[in-house]
């Protein structure tokens, strides 16, 4: 999206929010149309459950309706919506049974004493095209993302999946920029490792046939 387009979108959005704050319900419908997919997708990616994501989306849309007067425009409207979505998703997650935690450190790269890589690294990056969008790949990716610890997962979803800027993520999560970068880097390392197992196996099987 071009910079001017972004600017126009931002202005339209600000106008919609103002109209809605003034009591215009059509403006609310438009805001819902703009945001419901993003709200649903983020909560679905966090919880991986359609019913839960639906509950969260309902709750968030209702909160937007009821609390719009408390939005003061100190941060971007979208940041506000993302924060409400995250809070609501976390409330939901907390009410559920916790899955056993996995340590991210075990999956980070390891080095020898002189700082060189210890494991053999295969380059599978060129062979992913044929696998992309197969059900199996989708499942592997969903599972890998599901295993990410919450702190890293939310940064990864906002920055790499939703495409927010680092600055925006730091605003939504109230984190410093270095903290956002470090969590995102750890998330990517973790996921790379998880996907490597799958793609390397696929490559070696392909080599045999």
């Amino acid at each position: 999206m071009s910079f001017t387009q972004q600017k126009v979108d931002k202005e339209i959005e600000e106008a919609l929010v103002k109209d809605f704050q003034a009591g215009n319900l059509d403006a609310y419908d438009k805001i819902v149309e703009l945001y419901q997919k993003r709200i649903y997708a983020l909560s679905f990616n966090l919880m991986r459950n359609q019913m839960d994501a639906q509950d969260v989306a309902q709750e968030v849309l209702l909160t937007l309706f009821k609390k719009i007067h408390t939005f003061q425009g100190k941060s971007a409207f979208s940041s506000w919506v993302y924060r409400i979505t995250l809070n609501s998703s976390y409330m939901k997650l907390r009410s559920k049974k916790k899955e056993p935690k996995i340590s991210i450190d075990e999956l980070l790269p390891s080095f020898n004493s002189t700082g060189f890589q210890q494991e053999k690294i295969q380059d599978w990056s060129e062979n992913t095209e044929s696998l992309l969008f197969t059900n199996e790949t989708r499942e592997i990716i969903n599972k890998a993302v599901g295993l990410l610890p919450e702190k890293e997962k939310v940064v990864f979803l906002l920055r790499d999946v939703e495409g927010l800027s680092t600055e925006k993520v730091s605003e939504v999560l109230d984190l410093t920029i270095p903290a956002v970068k470090s969590r995102l880097h750890r998330a990517r390392l973790f996921l790379r490792k998880k996907l490597s197992g799958y793609f390397e196996e696929y490559n070696s099987q392909k080599g045999e046939t």
Binding site: T114, G115, L157, D160
Partner: protein, 82 residues
């Protein structure tokens, strides 16, 4: 010359184009002599693309969309009655 560990620590900033010229140059020198780190760089980048493309495919299922619509309509009707 920088080692693999430093190289991987710098990957994020390298991809974002945030490194100063000198650091960027020494990283590229490392890549020239270290195929495993090139493989790491390529797969690190692929990981992001693959995950993004997969997770972005999520659409609101029709039944959820309908539920949300009737929920919002009900809410609106209530407001208008007030």
């Amino acid at each position: 010359m920088i080692c693999c560990k430093e190289c991987i620590d710098l990957l994020y900033d390298y991809i974002e184009g945030l490194l100063d010229q000198e650091t960027s140059k020494s990283l590229e020198e490392h890549f020239e002599e270290c195929p495993p780190c090139i493989a790491f760089l390529n797969t690190y980048k692929s990981t992001t693309t693959l995950c993004r493309d997969t997770l972005n495919q999520i659409e609101i299922p029709d039944e959820v969309r309908h539920t949300l619509q009737s929920f919002l309509k009900e809410n609106k009707d209530q407001q208008e009655k007030k």
